[in-house]
């Protein structure tokens, strides 16, 4: 199906009428961030992003498209897995008795507009981590259950993107379960649209839809084919096994010489989910709040156990990140933890390229 560009505002209005808070991409702080929105005028119309290792900038184009860019530093992750969150609190009464109380899991009904295929893939990984293991995370679950996702296929990947190589993009796969509700492809004068869930179908039924033409479908195919030509890719080798076979490769040390061990890569990674937990007592000592916040395998605390820091230097920490992301992740979640969004490349202050790092290590393998 197809709808004209002017229907986009109707879509937002309809979602809000159904009680959704709309979240969408907007130009802010020299990048594109996802935040609450009510009008299509807030979208990054006529904007391109120029991404290079360690560098991000926006350019104005003469075009009228709203989604003619690749991505910003974050998308869904901070909306579902909060960077800092109170989990529970405790209090001591006058008799010294301690009571514990849970934080209520109240969440707004969110509709996120303009989600990319890489972030849908990351969402599915987070679903598997937070919802499908032995313990369900109630905080994530509360935000996830009413979430509505309107994905937009990528038409213009950045230099740092390699989703084609991981198999996660540039287009959202057509038969995803628990991924997007609606998938759009932006054409010159409107959007090709498909619903992937019943909820998505209901929302679409209120728009002025037209049958798509063969010409429009051909344009979409051209966009997909162009967006699949990406500058970066992962080596076509058995990365999972080879990384584990190369634990003592000197390349880990070469990378560590450049790495700041700052944790930017893991923070912008849409699949990294490590966190620390800490206790924040009130000054009077009578009550305390228990928080969790984003942590990183690049920090000391991540491998600190009872007086010992197991991974004290950067080569060990980088190795931990890469071997988890590409190797042990497969054993845990059935796929690699990398969705090819390229954020860790762009947002690394010293321009370390994860595709190069992987190649450096696995291609040195001696058979």
């Amino acid at each position: 199906m197809f709808f004209k560009t002017d229907q986009l505002q109707h879509l937002l209005d309809n979602l809000q009428a159904k009680g959704y808070t709309c979240i969408g991409p907007q130009v802010r702080h020299e990048t594109i961030i996802y935040d609450e929105m009510t009008s299509v005028e807030q979208l990054p119309q006529g904007i391109n992003d120029l991404q290079q290792p360690g560098s991000y900038s926006l350019n104005a184009t003469n075009g009228s498209k709203y989604f003619d860019w690749a991505n910003g530093p974050q998308a869904i992750k901070p909306l579902l897995f909060l960077p800092k969150e109170k989990l529970w609190s405790s209090a001591q009464d006058a008799d010294g008795k301690i009571s514990f109380s849970a934080v209520k899991h109240e969440a707004k009904k969110l509709a996120i507009i303009g989600v990319r295929a890489c972030d849908i893939a990351a969402l599915k990984i987070h679903d598997s981590h937070f919802l499908q293991q032995s313990f369900i995370d109630p905080y994530y679950q509360a935000r996830r259950q009413d979430l509505l996702i309107i994905a937009v296929n990528c038409s213009r990947p950045a230099d740092t993107c390699f989703c084609y190589s991981t198999g996660d993009g540039p287009f959202v796969p057509s038969l995803l379960k628990q991924g997007a509700d609606i998938v759009l492809t932006e054409l010159q004068d409107g959007f090709l649209v498909t619903a992937q869930t019943e909820q998505g179908e209901n929302i679409l039924s209120e728009l002025a839809l037209q049958e798509s033409t063969a010409e429009q479908r051909a344009e979409s195919e051209r966009i997909k084919s162009n967006a699949s030509k990406q500058n970066r890719q992962l080596p076509k080798l058995d990365i999972k096994s080879r990384l584990f076979e190369e634990l003592n490769n000197e390349a880990w040390h070469n990378i560590a010489e450049k790495c700041l061990s700052c944790g930017n890569c893991t923070s912008v990674c849409p699949t990294c989910f490590c966190h620390s937990e800490n206790e924040v007592p009130e000054l009077d000592g009578k009550s305390s709040s228990h928080y969790r916040e984003w942590d990183s395998c690049f920090g000391q605390g991540h491998s600190y156990i009872h007086g010992i820091t197991i991974r004290s230097d950067t080569s060990q920490r980088y190795r931990q990140w890469l071997t988890h992301k590409f190797s042990s992740w497969v054993d845990q979640y059935g796929r690699s933890g990398c969705v090819g969004c390229g954020r860790c490349i762009t947002w690394c202050p010293v321009a370390i390229d994860v595709t190069e790092s992987v190649a450096q290590i696995v291609e040195k393998h001696h058979d």
Binding site: K258, C262, D284, G299
Partner: protein, 256 residues
């Protein structure tokens, strides 16, 4: 019941960290019910020689009489906690450690003979045992209260030594280095400030000193890549915490 006693001592400093204590608002009232503040000259309490549970020390050692006074404070306290860059690494006045102090004094003062100043401004830990350190210029009030609270519970506070980058990301602050080519020191600087500077779009200038496991060499190379000349790279490290080893050594490498 006797309340734990706290003293706030000042050495060479701008008093900004004492003001941070003074400016705690309601928390200061709560604190005053939990502890007895025996000495805090800026706030009026004067009993410098009292024996205390926690001595909070601001400022660097800068004159010959400081050394003896500091030793007495150490002898009279159970825990000694340094607050701020001056006490913890020597502060901005440690820049003189790289110059000829005698010559500076002669050039600046009409009567240099009355100036009693050591050649170097040094951190408290260079002279006595320090039990815990709060970095920053000035310190974070949140960290100060957390530290006192932990000591009152009878435990050591959890040290925060991640890089500022982690805090930027937790606050959803967009990286000023990647988007604006700012010479941000966040990747080598200890968190604790709440990413105060990047949050308003400017670069971190390292006032919390070095984080754990810092790669100052890679940081310096990156600063050079951003277009800073050698002296500018040196000055990024040799500023508020020039007395901190990792910053000092990297700064010296780039100094021309």
């Amino acid at each position: 019941m006797n309340k734990p006693k706290i003293a706030v001592h000042k050495f060479s400093s701008c008093d900004g960290c004492q003001l941070a204590i003074f400016n705690l608002g309601e928390s200061l009232l709560i604190l005053s019910q939990l502890v007895e503040i025996t000495h805090f000259a800026e706030a009026g309490a004067l009993d410098e020689e009292a024996t205390v549970d926690i001595a909070i020390v601001e400022g660097s050692v800068s004159t010959s009489e400081d050394v003896a006074r500091l030793q007495k404070i150490r002898d009279n306290s159970n825990y000694l906690m340094t607050v701020g860059a001056c006490a913890t690494s020597g502060g901005i006045q440690a820049l003189r450690n790289m110059a000829n102090t005698g010559q500076w004094i002669a050039e600046i003062y009409a009567n240099p003979a009355v100036i009693d100043s050591l050649d170097n401004s040094t951190a408290i830990k260079n002279h006595v045992k320090v039990d815990l350190e709060l970095w920053g210029c000035p310190i974070s009030q949140r960290q100060l209260l957390m530290a006192i609270r932990a000591l009152l519970f009878g435990v050591m506070p959890v040290e925060e030594h991640d890089k500022v980058c982690m805090e930027c990301k937790r606050q959803q602050t967009v990286c000023v280095m990647v988007t604006k080519n700012e010479a941000c020191m966040g990747p080598v600087t200890r968190t604790g400030c709440g990413a105060l500077c990047p949050r308003v779009g400017r670069d971190c200038y390292g006032c919390y000193g070095p984080a754990e496991n810092v790669n100052t060499q890679a940081m310096a190379n990156r600063l050079q890549g951003l277009g800073l000349v050698n002296d500018e790279v040196a000055r990024r490290f040799l500023f508020i915490n020039s007395g901190a080893d990792q910053f000092y050594l990297q700064g010296q490498r780039w100094k021309t």
